[in-house]
């Protein structure tokens, strides 16, 4: 380890003997050397000083030709023309590790001719670049990013995402104004209330009123505009919502206060105006903040699909757009690639991983003439495929379409607070009008009756009601986040509390998802290094499981280099080492080599033989995760029914379900079957949580009321899911249920508090006992009660 040297560019450490020496600098590869010289030439070498010892990704030189970025179709899709007539593109930049990387990219781009603006967001690695297209082309920009050791690919900055960000920013602005004004009004109000008790001249009062009025005006008309808009839409659809209550309450109070200021008599309520709007706006903002950003969901699917495939035409291999492939074209698929088109194998053979589509945990061997479904991944097969469907009709694109419909069909359970606020608003408005008329007819001055009527609205301030749900869900979200449970949307906490059915996927959810050695049978002593070197040659899950088993607890296993080795598809590996014939694989391999074995087990078996004699047998099985059994028992105590859905075969499914104790079990389910099953449950009135991890679960995840995804699951599944369990543990699944029920309980308590509070104060206001000071204090107290109650739960949970 001692003579390892860090590369000057990427800071990765390698042995001195393999490094490229260049003056006083050492480089791990030509790429790093190239970037270093480029940066020195451009005068950007202060990058290294800024980056410190951050380890970077060494640049690769194997990029596709960038000229296709200049294609018209590409410009159409990704490049926008902004208001000044410049071109604008959104890129995701790969390889950003530190703020110095951001600095370098921006700097390098700014140095280019024709670049107007390059702005890179460090948090999400997204960049916006504006340039003059007649001076520089997009391909040159991307070449530059690649030249300094990063890679960039464009993404469709979807309208929705931009919209969500804009909405958030809009709330920031409105809230800043509201909070600024309210805080200042409070100070002035302190003076006013002091004067109320100790006496103050009317002139002084008017000065304070005017100052408050000036501050309250932007709050009502700028910050409060959201409520006027909401009230307008509410009236249009003939529903009485909270916005109407806030808008009428605040604007009536405002008008009345102006009147008071002008006639120089009585008490103004400007502080109430700004406080109502500020509090309710904060509540709304919390809701907006915790809303799921559904925008990226479909985006990521597109990103995961390459848009080009290699096809054979006139005896040469050419790249072709995915959409241009027609039935009968011969598509080339190399090992490790995803198959994008359905077809039949015309050349070659190998194993395919179909777990994406079927959930089948073991790779499937396919030979000449075998049909391959799009969406499967070739493990070791280099094949030619004759397309039997074009991309538009392929299984993969069907899946994407089904997903879109599933996302749209997701049921929305109405939130308790929304239901309640409608009644609440109607009742309060009605009571306020009633009070006004009763006071007026019971001969009082118009002013007095009007003020009492308004005081009903002010005191029945919806602040506490508006804060009840957001504050509670915020507590729930933070409780979850501390335990590795990510709720993407606050409303899901409430939905999840109402769930009565839990549907679980098997592979990767209830089980670990890969075979592990559970038993080792040794028949004769042998060198472990031989077995290690043998299984290292394969990427088959069984080989990986054995490799892991051998390396467990042993750090240094040296590699043996074999004289000869051969992979036998769907059987195993055969190698020759110092004239020993070594075999490792399944029963078929043994039988083919005429080795007699008498060993029976339900598990997957791996045989290891040297010179036709079996030395060891390993039993492998996909292990059930810790806590699976407890989960089922505990949830059934809570009245939640558990169902297991799997794409795997009957034998494996039954074995796992018996071990865990799940009685309801459905096997050999395709992704569509799973999603249909969820719909059937919906139709019978159930609220369903689906837990899964793979692409084969996404339809069901999208269709279920709540889709929970394991953090190790596929990117698409994580994006479609509503809740992500970052630590993959089933214990946190149970925690998620607990947290959601606690939160829902909290919401109910908070709503209860604010209603009881109003039940006491509204009659007081109707009787005319409320003075401005009481109104202002009561508003704060009710909000504080709700917030305090939520904090109480937070503390209680954190103690445990």
């Amino acid at each position: 380890m001692s003579n390892n040297i860090a590369c000057t560019h990427c800071h990765l450490e390698f042995n001195e003997s393999v490094m490229i020496k260049d003056g006083e600098h050492y480089f791990c590869c030509n790429g790093c050397q190239g970037v270093f010289h480029l940066l020195s030439d451009e005068g950007l070498d202060s990058f290294y000083e800024k980056a410190g010892n951050v380890k970077l990704t060494p640049p690769t030189s194997q990029y596709e030709d960038s000229s296709n970025f200049n294609a018209e179709a590409f410009y159409d899709k990704f490049v926008k023309i902004n208001s000044d007539g410049f071109s604008e593109v959104s890129l995701i930049i790969e390889g950003i590790h530190c703020s110095a990387c951001v600095w370098l990219n921006e700097k390098a781009l700014h140095k280019m001719d024709g670049i107007i603006e390059a702005n890179i967001n460090f948090t999400n690695n997204k960049a916006t670049i504006v340039w003059a297209d007649n001076i520089v082309k997009l391909s040159q920009i991307i070449d530059m990013i690649r030249a300094i050791g990063y890679n960039a690919f464009p993404y469709d900055a979807s309208i929705q995402e931009a919209h969500a960000n804009k909405e958030r920013k809009d709330y920031y602005l409105r809230m800043s104004v509201a909070i600024f004004a309210s805080m200042n009004i409070m100070w002035i109000a302190v003076a006013q209330y002091a004067g109320y008790f100790s006496g103050m001249t009317q002139d002084m009062k008017t000065i304070l009123n005017i100052a408050e009025g000036v501050l309250a005006t932007p709050v009502l008309f700028y910050s409060g505009w959201i409520f006027f808009r909401g009230a307008y839409y509410g009236l249009k659809t003939k529903t009485v919502n909270m916005d109407i209550l806030v808008a009428t309450g605040a604007s009536l109070t405002y008008i009345y206060s102006i009147y008071i200021t002008i006639i120089e008599e009585g008490e103004a309520y400007f502080d109430s105006v700004s406080m109502i709007i500020t509090f309710v706006l904060i509540g709304k903002f919390l809701e907006v903040l915790s809303k799921k950003n559904a925008a990226d969901t479909l985006d990521i699917i597109g990103k995961n699909l390459p848009n080009e495939v290699k096809i054979v035409k006139d005896n040469s291999i050419i790249s072709c757009k995915l959409g241009d492939v027609i039935i009968g074209d011969i598509v080339v698929v190399s090992s490790g690639e995803k198959v994008l088109l359905d077809g039949e194998i015309t050349k070659g053979s190998g194993s395919f991983d179909e777990s994406n589509l079927t959930g089948e945990s073991e790779p499937i061997y396919k030979d000449l003439g075998g049909t391959v479904i799009s969406g499967t991944v070739s493990i070791d097969a280099d094949i030619h495929l004759r397309a039997t469907k074009d991309f538009g009709h392929s299984t993969l694109s069907n899946l994407v379409q089904l997903l879109e419909t599933a996302i749209n069909k997701k049921p929305k359970i109405e939130q308790l607070a929304n239901k309640l606020s409608e009644y609440f608003s109607s009742v309060v408005l009605a009571l306020s009008f009633l009070t006004f008329f009763v006071w007026w007819l019971w001969p009082h001055d118009f002013e007095v009756s009007f003020m009492v009527g308004i005081s009903v609205i002010v005191i029945a301030c919806p602040c506490a009601l508006a804060l009840a749900t957001p504050v509670a869900t915020l507590v729930g979200l933070s409780l979850g986040a501390k335990r590795g449970i990510l709720f993407k949307e606050a409303a899901q906490l409430e939905t999840m509390a109402k769930v009565d059915t839990l549907v679980l996927d098997k592979t990767g959810t209830l089980t670990v998802g890969k075979p592990e050695v559970i038993k080792e049978h040794i028949y004769a002593d042998f060198d472990r290094e031989l077995l290690y070197s043998l299984v290292k040659l394969s990427n088959h899950p069984v080989a990986l499981g054995i490799k892991e088993y051998i390396t467990k607890g042993q750090e240094n296993i040296s590699d043996t280099i074999f004289d000869e080795f051969k992979q036998i598809p769907a059987s195993g590996i055969s190698v020759v080492h110092q004239r020993l014939e070594i075999l490792g694989g399944n029963l078929k391999l043994m039988n083919d080599n005429h080795i007699e074995i008498d060993f029976k087990s339900d598990n997957t078996l791996f045989y290891f033989a040297i010179n036709k004699k079996v030395f060891a047998i390993y039993e492998l099985s996909d292990k059930v995760k810790d806590g699976a059994k407890d989960l089922v028992i505990n949830l059934s105590k809570r009245g939640i029914e558990t169902i297991m859905l799997t794409g795997d075969n009957e034998r494996v499914a039954k074995k796992v379900s018996a071990e865990i104790g799940i009685k309801n079990l459905y096997y050999e389910q395709t992704p569509q079957d799973k999603s249909e099953f969820i719909s059937t449950l919906h139709n019978s009135g159930k609220t369903v949580v689906m837990v899964g991890d793979g692409v084969n679960d996404i339809l069901a995840l999208a269709r279920a009321d709540i889709g929970i995804v394991m953090g190790s699951g596929s990117d698409i599944a994580i994006d479609v899911g509503d809740v992500v369990l970052l630590n993959d543990s089933l214990n946190s699944l149970e925690d998620a249920f607990k947290i959601s029920r606690t939160t829902y309980g909290l919401i109910k308590q908070n709503l209860g508090i604010s209603l009881v509070y109003n039940a006491i104060t509204i009659p007081l206001a109707m009787a005319g006992f409320v003075i401005p000071l009481v109104a202002a204090i009561s508003m704060s107290v009710s909000s504080l009660l709700v917030v305090g109650n939520s904090m109480r739960i937070n503390l209680k949970w954190n103690k445990n």
Partner: protein, 71 residues
């Protein structure tokens, strides 16, 4: 104490506060808080060179804007 003293002090302080508020609103609108990481790291890369670069970039932008005629 005369009333107008209070009135003037209130007016002046609200005015000063409003200036700060508008500066803050401008910063939000300008996207200065969009990227919290970069916002915090900006202090590290703040120097004469950076200011000059920013100025050059601004000039380049203006000049391009004048010249640029999209087809």
């Amino acid at each position: 104490m005369d009333n107008w003293v209070i009135a003037m002090m209130l007016g002046a302080s609200i005015f000063l506060g409003a200036i700060a508020l508008f500066a803050f609103l401008w910063a939000i609108k300008n996207g200065q808080f969009d990227d919290e990481e970069k916002f915090l790291n900006a202090a590290k890369f703040d120097g004469e060179d950076e200011l000059n670069d920013a100025l050059n970039q601004e000039r380049k932008k203006e000049e391009l804007k004048k010249r640029y005629r999209p087809e």
